[in-house]
Amino acid sequence: MTNGKVVGVNGNMVTVEAAGDVSLNEVAYVLLAGKRLKSEVIRIRGSRAEMQVFEMSRGIGVGDEVEFSGEPLSARLGPGLLGQVYDGLQNPLPELAAHSGFFLERGVYLSPLDEAKRWPFTPTAAVGDAVGAGDELGSVPEGIFRHRVMVPFHLAGAWKVARVAAAGDYTVNDEIAELEDESGRRLPVNMSFHWPVKRPVTCYRERLRPQEPLVTKIRLIDTFIPVARGGTYCIPGPFGAGKTVLQQATSRNADIDIVIIAACGERAGEVVETLREFPRLPDPRTGRTLMERTIIICNTSSMPVAAREASVYTAITLAEYYRQMGLHVLLLADSTSRWAQALREMSGRLEEIPGEEAFPAYLESVIAAFYERAGLVRLRGGGTGSVTIGGTVSPAGGNFDEPVTQSTLKVVGAFHGLSRERSDARKYPAIHPLESWSKYRGAIDPAAVAYARAILFQGHEVGQMMKVVGEEGTSLEDYVTFLKSEFIDSVYLQQDTLDPVDGAMPPERQRHLFVLMFAVLAARLELGGKEAARAFFNQLRQKFLDINVAAWQGDEFRRLEADIAAFTAAQRAGADEKGQRLLEALRAGAPGRGE
């Protein structure tokens, strides 16, 4: 192993004179007063290595010893990851607290997995089986999942199972199999192994196009700008517009196997909400607690900056690991801008030539490579698994025309842009319905959705026009279009995230509500004058707001539904032809994915 000595310190960047070979992205430790401070080599010039220290660098001095590990920064994979709360380097935070108390103590690194816990292992591979990286050797139950114990991902080439442990209880360090390569070399394996976080896991058969919707239970998203399992999306928005609330709601309600939350460089208080509440909240799919399907990677804003970058890579690596088990994983990263800023800080210290807003020139390719790790894959043993990535972006000044937002928009499949105007008016979720887009397909007939969207758009145009010509200069027909668009907005797009009923609307109920609303959109209404039209929509809105919080198909729900039908029918004077056709198709339950 190579050693070295510190020759310079600048913030969290340390320059080391190395006495041997050093490789890029290798982990090294600065030895300081009995502590070992974890660092990563980020540039090498001659015998000098420049490293980012993942800890506070206070107290480091010229001449301090450095030990290079020879290994890249890695995550430990194995049963017991679910339900954990880690820092960016996969240090378990509750255990760290038990060890060090209120404050984070630098240089303390604990095992990410419980080494004492015994897992009931069932072998599935047999002696003589030909296996390769990622193939199953057996399984252990981890909460509600069948955790596949796999051939370590780094074992390239063809192997044969030489021995496999009998069914029984084993710890993650116990040997559960022995593999043999073509030359007869034998290798013991246990239930856990390491994987370098910056390298994508690719031991699957093929990548597939994401097509199945990932249901978030947020109407505006699922209906208008859907997300697909295995796809990517981003949520840029100014501060306070609701990025975190949106992600928190998704982390609870999304119809997915596993959620990995990467709290990257934002407020600690927000993670605490998840941390304290998930162990108590039931997962509607399984009845167990949400924590059992969740992993939190937490490197909040006052934690060491260099570990922010590591945190998103650790998160995606864990996601890829569970994908290999045929599970669907959702990774929520809040906020990718903080990670980009960490890159910028380090690039500045390295005195690289700065790009736009002083971000490094390679920002775009780094972001693209990260989102590319999402995907739906067919596994080698059959079956599919997926990793979906949703990242928030915190653009400077709330202006989307900045490097991180723009680089992200180039690679994601859906864009959920939050607007200050809507959040100021408390129209939540404050996603801008017209500017946002998705390349994925949702569960409701796209033609009908496009029809509703067109009304939103026309209504917006009329609204803009009214600002110039006034209401008096607007025709009744245009005015009704305007009211219809406002109506869609207030009863369908806006949703009370905190309401137990309205806050999480399953697809079935979304479709029902959509049809109910669509009947109003398609109708030609006889409303007399503008005041009367406004009064009509005010009352109609009230009924919809009430139905949105009523228990699904309960008495109140049915009463309101009948009420809405009668109330609309009283003003109905025919229908728009295209609208009527779409409405009938919707009512007939025409498949949303047709055409």
Binding site: R58, I60, G269, T300, S301, S302, E357, G470, E472, L545
Partner: protein
């Protein structure tokens, strides 16, 4: 005793460079000139070249001055003796009291383990409706007042500090005008709070580097008291001056600026301070109330912008009032549970209507006809500003909620408010005798 070095090789801005051995990153040193001495902190090591930031600035520093390293980072004395005292940014007394040198603690210590934090539980009541009703202040929150300079934000801070039920108040003044400093002192004295207050004050005429130390010193002391079970309120005025001091140093150090001259780590620097706000399980808490003046009234300026991303909600101060727009605090757990079931709905509903009022106002300014709905909004908006936004209103939350319902009922019919029928049934005020019902929209004019 450490060695004394007397060969300063370079002096630029507030930074000096000396050749020295066995120096540690972040270590403190004393720079002694003919006229004065100052503390300095190590901010870069490059082999034997050590760069130090001189707290009192480099004016008058000569290459022959002596530099003596102290072997420890910046520290502050921590004990009950601090109470009622006034210090400058380096922790030296500003009053006539004695210098304190006991129980020294490091400033800028490590972050709290997120797993050790707890969800904020207690609302801090201020009896200001724009805060209590529309943007509640919560114990352990960090909240800035965004304002253009010249607004009465310091009186607001002092009022909240005196009204809030906290054990200790720590005031960190950065670039504070001397008059403002005297104002704080007098206000807290009159309110009888002086003996539970500690001041760390950097005034506009003090050296820039000392401005940088104020939040760290104030928060280190706050942390000390919070760990001893005290509820501490930290007032920081004005954090924009702190950010400007960061900018000045970064430029001297020839760092590549990221945005309008501010260094790329502005966000992390600000976050490191604000994130000290915490509620310690089984001990006390730190709540931070800051002031961020917005240069040119521009909220997208890097200082308010980065602050907005870090803090939990903001108060916008304009024309002597707190504006209802801008983002909200993290009060969702509290409201609903601990205040009243109508709180959250009312707060959102009233703001949505106020936003609509603003649109009508714009329409009116452009000379368009006002329809009946516009007229209702205009009436509502004017009364909202008077009865809710005016800072002279001083009522408990429950009264403010009742007033809110009354205001809605005076201006609108129930379905115009977008509030759910269930809440309306429960809270819509009964009409008083002799008062006509507001007409339904859609009625003939």
């Amino acid at each position: 005793m450490k060695k004394v070095y007397s060969r300063i090789e370079a002096i630029a801005g507030n930074v000096i460079t000396v050749r020295a051995e066995n120096v540690r990153y972040g270590e403190l040193a004393v720079v002694r000139s003919a006229q004065r001495t100052s503390l300095a902190e190590v901010i870069r090591l490059a082999e034997e070249r050590v760069s130090l930031q001189v707290f009192a600035g480099c004016r008058g520093v000569s290459t022959g001055d002596q530099v003596r390293f102290l072997g420890h980072p910046m520290q502050v004395s921590f004990s009950d003796d601090l109470l009622g005292r006034i210090f400058d940014g380096s922790g030296r007394p500003r009053d006539k009291g004695p210098e304190l040198g006991e129980h020294m603690i490091d400033i800028g210590g490590p972050a709290v383990n997120p797993a050790q934090r707890i969800i904020p539980r207690n609302m801090i009541r201020t009896n200001i409706p724009m805060i209590d009703l529309f943007n509640s202040l919560v114990e352990s929150q960090k909240l800035p007042v965004f304002s253009v300079s010249g607004e009465p934000y310091n009186p607001l801070l002092a009022r909240i500090a005196l009204q809030a039920e906290v054990d200790l108040i720590i005031l960190g003044g950065m670039g504070l005008k001397y008059d403002d400093y005297l104002f704080f002192r007098d206000a807290l004295e009159q309110g009888g709070a002086l003996n539970r207050t500690v001041f760390f004050v950097h005034t506009a005429s003090d050296p820039t580097v000392e401005c940088l130390l104020v939040p760290d010193i104030a928060l280190a002391v706050a942390e000390g008291f919070a760990l001893r079970g005290k509820k501490v309120l930290v007032l920081l005025s004005d954090m924009t001056n702190f950010a400007d001091a960061l900018k000045e140093i970064a430029i001297t150090m020839e760092q590549v600026p990221s945005n309008r001259g501010y260094p790329g780590d502005l966000y992390s620097q600000l976050a490191a301070r604000y994130e000290k706000a915490v509620d310690f399980q089984g001990a006390g808490s730190i709540t931070i109330l800051g002031v961020t003046t917005m240069p040119g009234d521009d909220v997208t300026h890097p200082v308010p912008d980065n602050t907005g991303y870090i803090t939990e909600g903001q108060f916008y101060m304009r024309n002597g009032r707190i504006e209802p727009f801008g983002s909200l605090s993290r009060l969702k757990q509290l409201v609903n549970k601990k205040t009243r079931p109508d709180h959250r709905a009312l707060m959102d509903g009233m703001i949505t209507l106020y936003a609509a009022y603003k649109e009508s106002l714009e329409k009116k300014a452009m000379g368009f006809q006002m329809n009946e709905w516009d007229r209702k909004l205009l009436k509502y908006g004017a009364r909202f500003e008077q009865e809710m936004m005016d800072l002279s209103v001083n009522v408990p939350l429950e009264r403010a909620l009742d007033n809110g319902w009354r205001l809605l009922a005076d201006c609108f019919s129930p379905e115009e408010t977008r509030l759910r029928s269930e809440l309306i049934r429960q809270y819509w005020p009964a009409r008083e005798e002799g008062q006509p019902a507001p007409s339904r929209s859609g009625g003939t004019d």
